[in-house]
């Protein structure tokens, strides 16, 4: 980050107070430029097929809540001005109005229910849709503090994962009897997805709860140890480099449990996969 490398803030600076003030000034000055480049004030760009629905729903809720807030805010300001204390003007003695109560109970109730139903429909659409047959299966198993990743070899099939078999020696819980796993290859903290091709994730954890989180994919899934999550899938619509982050507190190294995630053209993916020679024993993670 540029700001943190400015000369006024080197270790030798004895005037900490001054450094602090200049840091604050730079903070404000730099904020504008950097933010416009990366749009961090707002949702990052979306590269996942499912992300559009998430964003659409987000904007619907933003619109509704925005209207509600502006309404309440201006009503309050209006009342505060109009009904401020003035000598000789008494308050209106009223205990309420039942018709109004019915109105402002039913209208929000309908809006909230509609939102609940619509949101739930979107959610089950994302979760129920079975991944297409050509989906690339990728297993990701979290551990304190890193990501074990396992890709299928030339046969396109991952070895069978069994949650109960996940252990230190066998991070993926691979069933040794399953021949599909023999040509699998593994990486650590490194994921590569082909663009435009569905990817089906098999998520698990070796120790504590981790979470698979990539903001640009609008994707978050807890990985509770003792189970394998096989329903999450995605389809990247653009190439680029992203960061996979653990987003469930997992211990003192939690803050640096991240991995590289690149989305590349299909051919580049094939080349990358080929370059990863399968290890002789496929049970180990690294």
């Amino acid at each position: 980050m540029k700001l943190l490398e400015t000369p006024s803030m080197t270790r030798t600076s004895s005037l900490r107070g001054l450094a602090f003030l200049s840091a604050f000034a730079l903070t404000l000055a730099n904020a504008q430029a950097e933010i416009r480049e990366t749009s961090v004030w707002w949702l990052p760009r979306n590269v996942n097929m499912f992300g559009h629905d998430v964003d659409f729903l987000f904007y619907i809720i933003l619109f509704l809540t925005g209207v509600a807030f502006i309404g309440v805010f201006f009503a309050m300001i209006l009342f505060l001005i109009k009904y401020r204390y003035r000598p000789g003007v008494a308050a209106i003695h009223t205990h309420g109005n039942n018709a109004l109560e019915v109105v402002w109970t039913t209208i929000p109730a309908f809006i909230f229910l509609a939102l609940a139903i619509y949101g739930n429909e979107q959610w089950s659409k994302m979760r129920r849709q079975t991944p297409p047959a050509n989906a690339l299966p990728v297993a990701v198993v979290g551990e304190q503090f890193g990501w074990n990743v396992r890709y299928p070899g030339p046969d396109g099939k991952l070895g069978k994962m069994v949650a109960a078999k996940i252990s230190k020696e066998n991070p993926f819980g691979i069933d040794v009897a399953d021949p599909a796993g023999l040509d699998d290859f593994t990486t650590y903290n490194e994921l590569v997805f082909p663009v435009g091709r569905p990817v089906r994730l098999y998520l698990g954890s070796k120790d504590v709860i981790h979470a698979f989180y990539v903001p640009e994919f609008r994707l978050y899934q807890d990985m509770v140890p003792g189970r394998v999550y096989d329903f999450v899938w995605l389809k990247a619509e653009a190439t680029g480099n992203f960061q996979l982050a653990c987003n469930q507190l997992c211990g003192q190294g939690h803050y640096k449990m991240f991995g590289k995630l690149s989305v590349v053209p299909e051919l580049a993916y094939e080349a990358w996969a080929k370059s990863k020679t399968p290890p002789p024993v496929t049970m180990t993670g690294r």
Binding site: W42, F69, W123, V208, D222
Partner: protein, 593 residues
């Protein structure tokens, strides 16, 4: 003040214990008012502890000690080197634990609940004074355990205030065996204190209301504490049990939550959130009740839709128990279950909306006085609306998936808990301080305090929405470790500076609070021209509260009644029997009595 000649048997309840005087009264007194003040001072003290923890963790986020600089040095030149990642995790864990269990709950329920309930219902004391005092000391004990955990080997608990297992339940994973165990014990005893308080409040309100004080004549502050007490009684034991199980997992080799030995990590989440969501309402309902009363006092108007307000709170209390699953959408929940929790979560927004509209209705047509108490109450309404509306995003599962563990949710909870509860608490303190200490707080200092707090509060917490939408996770010790978050660093530094301003603004409050104890204007019995029973007695009220048990003739909100000589009529003022209104209300009082 005008009391009736009717002498009622209720008197036998209150005065059983003798008055304790001098310094000893702050240890042994069974008087609900002293216990209320003990809770007030202790939890305000913890407010500064919790705030200090918050500033330390904000400092680490702005100037991380773990940051690798361009020249290869580790640590930002402005960083505090003693904040390592593990200590950072302890900081946010204990910040939340302190604020929830040692500040907001004891302030709202311990301080205001104790002080106001007997005075407002016309009782001499709580039903069980000894248990009341015991509850305070058990609360202090829980605070000592939690604070002490900073000084044990490994440091304080570092698994988040939610303490998700198996991180929290296996010391090899968390590295804080003793700290986490002390956390369990502290939470267990804290829960015990809450349970003792809860059944005391319920018994007091059910049995000890003054004659004429029907349930639907109680001020909303009392209603809110009544409902809160039920929530405490039903929710807190679950947390205590869960904390005991976690303690056993850590120390006795059981395996409730560790899947490696056949345990179930999601069991912890279910138990925790079965407590945790009602807890959210436990921490906001009493503030809602107090704010309703304060808006009415300073608008010189009855609360708009009193019964709707009561029913809305009852609805919140009931629905609060069937929404806990929305905290677990991200755990890979069954679709039917997530649909049910999604709907119930949206439904619980309805009573909150009803309350907001009724608050606006109370302001409408009023004669509004902008006292410091009123300003804080208005801020409560506005900030609660923001916090409530940002909750809608989390109620919708697909959006929740994206924002769930980001700073968006940190902004949300602080808009509810600081913007809501803390502003409500300030409104309560500015309103009832004259009753508690017999002197007024300084209004000018109060308004400076309010203005600074309101401004810095919003500068601090609003940008967190944006940081969260930008993808910044909560609970990470160093955001600069992530390439995609580095561009956020200027905002993080800005938030930290605003947080420091927010913290220092509170010294204006402290100064005002302690200065006014001696130098404030004498308050008199009823400085705000309010109607409820606590304003009929001296400030501060004497031991036993009421010399003669008051008789109640009307509801709590007779402000600006047409034809009345003043713009308020006290609850214990009989109706003049010849006025038409008097006849109606008089008939009601017979049935209510």
């Amino acid at each position: 003040m005008s009391t009736t000649t009717l002498n009622h048997s209720i008197e036998s309840h209150g005065h059983e214990h003798a008055e304790v005087t001098g310094w000893r009264k702050y240890i042994w007194s069974l008087d609900h008012k002293i216990i209320g003040l003990q809770y007030l001072f202790t939890s305000l003290g913890f407010l500064f502890v919790g705030g200090g923890l918050a500033l330390l963790l904000r400092w680490q986020l702005a100037y991380p000690s773990t940051q690798v600089m361009a020249n290869g040095d580790v640590g930002n030149p402005l960083s505090l080197p003693f904040i390592n990642p593990q200590f950072y995790n302890s900081l946010f864990t204990m910040h939340a634990t302190v604020m929830v269990f040692l500040v907001v709950m004891p302030l709202l329920i311990g301080a205001f609940g104790n002080y106001l309930i007997p005075l407002k219902i016309g009782a001499g004391d709580m039903a069980f004074p000894l248990i009341n005092e015991l509850s305070y000391w058990v609360y202090v004990f829980s605070g000592v355990l939690l604070m002490g955990s900073f000084f044990v080997a490994g440091g304080a608990a570092a698994g988040g205030w939610t303490s998700y297992a198996p991180l929290s339940s296996v010391s090899a994973y968390n590295g804080t065996q003793i700290g986490q165990s002390l956390w369990c014990v502290g939470i267990f005893f804290n829960g015990l204190a809450s349970i003792m308080g809860a059944f005391n409040y319920i018994t007091t309100i059910v049995n000890m209301r003054a004659p004429g004080m029907g349930f639907f004549r109680m001020p909303l502050a009392v209603w809110s504490l009544f409902i809160t007490a039920f929530l405490l009684l039903l929710a807190v034991p679950v947390l205590s049990a869960a904390a005991a199980m976690l303690f056993l997992d850590l120390n006795a080799g059981t395996s409730f939550f560790n899947p490696a030995n056949g345990g179930q990590p999601l069991l912890w989440q279910h138990l925790f959130w079965f407590f945790g969501h009602p807890e959210v309402y436990i921490m906001i309902l009493p503030a809602m009740g107090m704010v309703s009363d304060i808006l009415s006092i300073f608008s010189r108007k009855p609360v708009f839709g009193y019964r709707a307000m009561v029913y809305a709170m009852v609805a919140i209390g009931f629905l609060g128990f069937i929404v806990w699953g929305h905290h677990m959408f991200v755990s890979g929940m069954n679709l039917v279950l997530s649909a049910a929790f999604g709907v119930s979560t949206m439904v619980i927004a309805v009573p909150s909306a009803i309350k907001t509209f009724n608050w606006l209705g109370t302001l409408w047509g009023g004669s509004i006085r902008f006292t410091t108490a009123m300003l804080n109450a208005l801020a409560f309404v506005l900030m609660f609306v923001i916090g409530g509306l940002s909750g809608i995003f989390m109620a919708s599962t697909p959006v929740d998936i994206f924002v769930h563990h980001t700073y968006f949710i940190v902004a949300h909870i602080h808009y509810v808990l600081f913007g809501g509860s803390i502003f409500g608490i300030f409104a309560g303190i500015y309103t009832w301080y004259p009753k508690m200490f017999g002197r007024m707080l300084d209004e000018n200092l109060g308004k400076i305090h309010f203005g600074l707090t309101f401004a810095f509060y919003n500068l601090c917490f609003f940008p967190m929405h944006n940081v969260g939408l930008g993808g910044m996770m909560r609970r990470i010790a160093d955001p600069t470790a992530y390439e995609h978050l580095r561009a956020l660093q200027p905002i993080n530094q800005f938030i930290t500076i605003a947080a420091i301003g927010l913290g220092f603004s509170q010294f204006v409050f402290l100064w005002n609070f302690f200065r006014s104890l001696r130098h404030g204007k004498p308050a008199g019995k009823n400085p705000w021209n309010a109607t409820t029973l606590e304003w009929t007695v001296a400030s501060p009220p004497g031991h036993g509260n009421f010399e003669v048990t008051p008789r109640v003739y009307r509801g709590a909100y007779d402000y600006s009644v047409p034809g009345a000589p003043r713009d308020f009529i006290m609850q214990n003022e009989p109706e003049p029997s010849d006025s038409p209104q008097g006849k109606v209300a008089g008939r009601k009082s017979v049935t209510a009595g």
